[in-house]
């Protein structure tokens, strides 16, 4: 059976039923357009969030912990020795020979590494006392491993060296404590040490928990608060490609013996929730496309019902059942194809319009535009799924209609 004939019959059917064809096309276009918009919006927000997360956090953090209790020398020497109730010898905290470890890592690491001393402290200002994480950094190295320098809203990273006991605090924390640049606050360390510090800068990362609970100082100030001069208890790594962080972390841990946590591991709960969210979003988008194909199903059902005499006559003339069925599937594909084309345009326009919408974040006080991710994959995937939906939506009514025996129709007509 020549495809041209089937195409010409299909085209005649759809072109002489303008209203039905437009409704079918409109249904597909709406489904495709809104699915593209949803995909762009959801993936955009997710990528934006991950980018913030990756920018704010080190890609890999090496700290002075170990994942398991280190083995005793006797255990290493003698296989039969079993150790129990090993005395706690309170070894000195911190990474041993941090300079040597850093030099070793720099020799092969696809990125940079910076030392830091991390502790907890209480920041006290004007009666407000808030527990924070204090990270002592070296500004010379810090610029290579974090975006802190670009996140500064007031002051600069180098200002840490210009004032005695200078600190940089998050914007949200500064607002909570009503602290401004140049103010003096009191920092209380875990060992009971109290130090007056000067706020030399304010940063905003965009992550609430960081902006509310993180402060930075020079390494020396953090060491003083810890009561451990010269201690480096954290190495922070930034990689050229954040996506290989997990693999590199495993290599680093194998080399140094210290617990190395990639940003993926540190946020595994969050990433897991993203996977759940992705599944939900895909389900919703699938449902949208499926719903839009119901319009096609209805229209093809109507056409096949109206065309049952034509179906009978085409079959009686000798056209095969499969060929007649193909006519209606072609009709659906014609409507679908044009609908998909309009859906792509609609999707792009919706994405563009949505990207112009700004949202005010009451926590950060910033007005940011909705993040939209433009990907050709969204268009290809929605087009392919919509095409499949159209074909399936047409197949069932077409099969039902073409299975009817022509004699039943011919007798019915007479």
């Amino acid at each position: 059976m020549t495809t041209n004939l089937l195409l010409s019959i299909a085209w005649t059917h759809v072109s002489t039923r303008v209203r039905q064809t437009l409704v079918g096309m409109f249904g597909v276009a709406m489904g495709v357009g809104f699915t593209i918009m949803m995909a762009g919006l959801m993936q955009g927000s997710q990528i934006d969030f991950l980018r913030q997360l990756v920018d704010t956090m080190p890609h890999i953090t090496i700290n002075d912990e170990r994942r398991s209790v280190p083995s005793q020398p006797a255990e290493q020497e003698y296989a039969a020795v079993a150790m129990s109730n090993v005395a706690n010898v309170n070894p000195r905290p911190g990474i041993r020979y941090p300079d040597a470890v850093m030099a070793s890592l720099k020799s092969w690491l696809p990125g940079d590494v910076a030392p830091s001393a991390r502790t907890t402290a209480i920041i006290d200002h004007g009666g407000g006392r808030i527990g924070v994480t204090l990270t002592g950094i070296d500004p010379r190295f810090e610029v290579h491993v974090s975006k802190l320098a670009s996140q500064m809203r007031e002051g600069q990273l180098s200002d840490l060296s210009k004032a005695a006991n200078g600190i940089i605090i998050g914007l949200a924390l500064a607002e909570k404590l009503a602290v401004k640049t140049g103010n003096t606050v009191v920092l209380a360390g875990g060992e009971g040490t109290q130090i007056s510090a000067t706020v030399v800068g304010i940063f905003r990362s965009g992550l609430k928990r960081v902006d509310e609970g993180q402060i930075y100082s020079l390494v020396g100030l953090a060491q003083t608060l810890m009561g451990q001069n010269g201690i480096i208890n954290e190495l922070r790594l930034r990689l050229n490609d954040p996506l290989i962080a997990q693999k590199v972390a495993t290599q680093v841990e194998a080399q140094t013996g210290y617990k190395s946590v990639s940003w993926q591991e540190a946020n595994s709960d969050l990433l897991s929730s993203f996977a759940t969210r992705d599944f939900i979003v895909l389900t919703v988008m699938g449902a949208m496309l499926l719903s839009s194909s119901f319009a096609t199903y209805n229209i093809i059902s109507t056409i096949t019902h109206e065309k049952r005499h034509d179906i009978a006559i085409m079959k009686s003339l000798g056209m095969r059942e499969a060929s007649v069925r193909r006519i209606f599937i072609l009709e659906s594909m014609m409507m679908g194809s044009v609908g998909i084309l309009f859906g792509w345009i609609l999707g792009y326009l919706l994405c563009y319009a949505w990207s112009k919408i700004t949202i005010y974040n009451t926590l950060t006080g910033a007005t940011v535009p909705l993040s939209i991710y433009y990907s050709p994959m969204h268009y290809v995937a929605t087009g392919a799924i919509a095409t499949l939906c159209c074909a399936v939506a047409a197949f069932f009514p077409a099969r039902k209609a073409t299975r009817v025996h022509p004699v039943e129709i011919i007798r019915g007509a007479s």
Binding site: M1, T2, N4, L5, I9, T12, H13, T16, H309, D310, A312, I313, M314, K315, S316, L317, G318, M319, R320, E321, A322, S323, H405, P406, V407, I410, R411, A413, S414
Partner: protein, 243 residues
């Protein structure tokens, strides 16, 4: 000896349902090439059922339909469709033209479905058929722009387009006025005289009398066979049913 175009052997068609009944009940029949056969009978006698079985639109419960020497009872639905496309041409009481297509496009349909001719040849043949049936000026018109007689002539042109061996017509003049009836029947007669076999179901006894042979069906069986026209001796010799 004349060639047999159509042979029906022990044909039975039963319908199973709440009440089962037999539409065609053991019919044997041979139709010569170029013969004009009329099937008559009262309503519900099984004449249309017999026609649908002959045209392979329906499958028999028992028996065999042999078209141009080809037994058809074991053919698949697809193979039966192919036989219909190439060897049978249908004309119905209602013209059953595709309403969105012009007269020319309707006539082209079986040829395009067959796909064995070039576009130009198909067009030329369709035009020639329509012109020969007096529709040369109506080729671009859609069925709703044609009169009943014109529609039926388009249907005839469509039936003839693939040069089928057998033309099967179910009450082709049932909805036509006297002039159109005369015209359509004249065309069918010409087709038979041209060498194609014509099998027509009709209620019109006067028209049936103009066929080479008339079989009268009652309760699914051939009740009476009547010969007419010049072909009678030949037909009787072939079928062995001369009275």
């Amino acid at each position: 000896m004349s060639e047999i175009a159509l042979e029906v052997v022990g044909l039975v068609r039963r319908v199973q349902g709440v009440i089962s009944h037999t539409l065609v009940n053991g019919i044997d029949l041979s139709v010569e090439k170029g013969e004009f056969l009329a099937i008559t009978g009262p309503s519900g006698s099984g004449k249309s059922s017999l026609l649908y079985l002959i045209g392979l639109l329906d499958a028999p419960t028992e028996g065999e339909v042999i078209i141009c020497g080809q037994p058809t009872s074991k053919l698949s639905e697809t193979e039966r469709a192919d036989v219909r496309l190439t060897k049978c041409g249908f004309v119905f009481q209602f013209h059953f033209l595709l309403p969105e297509f012009t007269a020319l496009e309707n006539v082209l349909l079986p040829m395009r479905a067959h796909g064995r001719m070039s576009a130009k040849d198909m067009h030329d043949r369709a035009m020639a058929l329509l012109t020969s049936l007096g529709l040369g000026e109506q080729t671009a018109k859609r069925p709703n722009q044609l009169s009943g007689g014109q529609r039926q002539r388009v249907a005839l042109a469509r039936a003839l387009s693939n040069r089928p061996e057998i033309i099967v017509a179910d009450e082709p003049t049932g909805n036509l006025d006297t002039a159109s009836t005369e015209q359509v029947f004249g065309i069918l007669r010409d087709i038979a005289d041209g060498g194609q076999t014509v099998v027509v179901v009709t209620h019109d006894a006067a028209l049936a009398a103009r066929a080479d042979r008339r079989i009268h069906i009652v309760d699914g069986k051939i009740h009476e066979t009547t010969f007419g026209g010049a072909r009678k001796p030949e037909i009787a010799a072939v079928t062995g049913t001369a009275e």
